[in-house]
């Protein structure tokens, strides 16, 4: 049969960010997909050699707009590990709370985009209506809506006072109720199911071999969540990974929906357990050494490699972002799918191209 190559992206209604795929199509079936990224490569890994290591937190946070806080947190953890800085427990708990808020807003964003991708506009509006409430909490506690700017090496820059914490918990209860309503729709609506069930199935072995991370891996039945490594306050708050075994788009949606309520749970636990005390320690000196730090972002595991040689700047700063690890799996699920399902499948890995191109 004759094959046709259909270019998909870098500008496409379903893609918020530029990624290009050449789809080799036979009739309506995609035979092969060839990716090409690098449209917005910013060279942030190289910028680390020019910025002071303490200033670089601001850059690390701006690697991605959606998982911004966890990027900053991971960078701070990497430096703290090299310099052996004891981070006060209150700061660890605050980081946990903000990290989970960022997961909430990222997953709600994704659910909205997902609904938008399948043409379910009203559901998309509802998902983003709830996300707006999360953003308001974030703005009230950190001062920024998307770029939190509240993490620094040695602790955090802002505290949440008890009154704000009380309002935060009340708002979280409200959000939790709203989320139940829309998650119900996502998991039971006939038209959503028709678009998701059985589409883009990835078996457990394939997911593991292709190096998937995050919800993509957990939807295929591999129980792996970097929060179980016990960074920040996760050594005291236990996280049970949410795992589904079907491995299709619906399972990925289920995992993310489950993680919404898990995050709410973690925020409540952290708010109950948060100890009083200092929120930051003073950092002096220059880092020498190297460390590999991993944390769980909304999209999956992120790997930071930081190498410092006692100068004001880092010698090497390397980020392996979750989307970068999920791209091979995307190419795998695209093989043999229908052309009409391509946008949905691209969305199910929750692509964050800015992350990918540091």
């Amino acid at each position: 049969m004759a094959t046709t190559i259909i270019p998909f992206g870098p500008q496409h209604p379903v893609l918020p960010e530029p990624v290009h795929l050449d789809l080799v199509v036979e009739d309506e079936k995609v035979v092969e997909a060839r990716p090409s990224i690098g449209f917005i490569h910013r060279g942030l890994e190289r910028l680390a050699e020019k910025k002071e290591y303490q200033e670089f937190v601001y850059v690390a946070e701006r690697i991605c707009g959606i998982c911004s806080f966890i990027h900053g947190q991971t960078y701070c953890q990497a430096i703290e590990e090299i310099m052996k800085i004891p981070v006060p427990p209150r700061a660890q708990y605050l980081r946990t709370i903000w990290g989970e808020l960022s997961r909430l807003h990222s997953h709600l964003l994704w659910l909205g985009l997902m609904a938008d991708g399948m043409g379910f506009e009203s559901l998309f509006m509802h998902a983003w209506r709830i996300r707006e409430k999360v953003l308001n909490i974030i703005e009230a506690t950190t001062g920024g809506r998307v770029i939190f700017g509240s993490c620094k090496i040695g602790g955090v820059r802002r505290d949440i006072d008890p009154d704000t914490m009380k309002t935060l918990l009340a708002q979280i209860d409200d959000i939790n109720k709203d989320m139940h309503e829309i998650v119900n729709v996502f998991l039971s609506d006939r038209s959503v199911k028709a678009r998701l069930v059985g589409v883009g199935t990835l078996t457990k072995d394939e997911a593991y071999d292709l190096g998937c991370v995050g919800p993509m891996l957990r939807a295929s039945g591999v129980s792996q969540d970097m929060r179980s490594l016990g960074y920040a306050a996760f050594n005291e708050i236990k996280v049970e990974p949410i795992v589904r075994t079907a491995g299709d788009s619906y399972a990925r949606c289920e995992v993310r929906c489950g993680e919404l309520f898990q995050s709410v749970n973690i925020i409540r636990q952290a708010a109950a357990k948060i100890p009083p005390g200092e929120i930051a320690v003073k950092v002096t000196g220059k880092p020498t050494g190297e460390s590999i730090t991993r944390t769980e972002q909304p999209r999956g595991e992120v790997v930071y490699y930081v190498k410092a040689n006692g100068a004001m700047n880092l010698q090497r700063f390397r980020v392996r972002t979750p989307t970068f690890a999920n791209l091979p799996a995307l190419l795998k699920v695209l093989q043999g799918c229908d052309l009409a399902d391509v946008p949905m499948l691209v969305l199910t890995i929750d692509p964050c191209i800015s992350c990918t191109e540091r």
Binding site: S36, R46, E81, V87, V303, Y305, K307
Partner: protein
């Protein structure tokens, strides 16, 4: 807070055998990272098994006459002066993106790549922006 991780130093020649043994013991490829140390590249292959991270560290010498100037027609150079590295993509299929990245950012020539983007994965204005600083300043290409 310290996360469980080990870094093993190995020789470049052992790399493929080591990677094969990791594959046999069901490790997941977490990342491949290169660092420019002036006269050599430090390569770090990280593997994850049940949350435990093991990294292989090896060094790739940079030939003294290595130049990062682009080859003919602005395409990838197959210049003999580039450092050559054996690809692990036959063992870990997921390594193609990391290895194409090594080629595009560092100018390391990968041998035996399963999917070769020929330097088109990243569309950087400067070819091999993170390559060895010992080399002459890379020229900016205009398209």
């Amino acid at each position: 807070m310290t996360q469980e991780q080990t870094i093993e130093n190995i020789a470049l020649t052992e790399l493929l055998d080591k990677v094969r043994s990791f594959r046999a013991s069901k490790h997941r490829l977490a990342q491949i990272c290169a660092t420019d140390l002036g006269d050599k590249y430090e390569l770090l292959y990280s593997f994850d098994l049940q949350g435990k991270l093991t990294s292989l560290r090896t060094y790739l010498p940079i030939p003294a006459n290595h130049s990062l100037a682009p080859g003919s027609a602005g395409g990838p150079t197959t210049d003999a002066t580039h450092p050559h590295l054996q690809s692990i993509s036959s063992i870990y299929g997921a390594s193609i993106l990391y290895e194409n990245e090594l080629h595009d950012l560092f100018g390391i020539q990968m041998d035996g790549l399963a999917v070769d983007f020929h330097g088109n994965l990243y569309k950087t204005a400067i070819k091999y922006p993170m390559g060895s600083k010992k080399a002459p300043t890379p020229t900016c290409e205009t398209k």
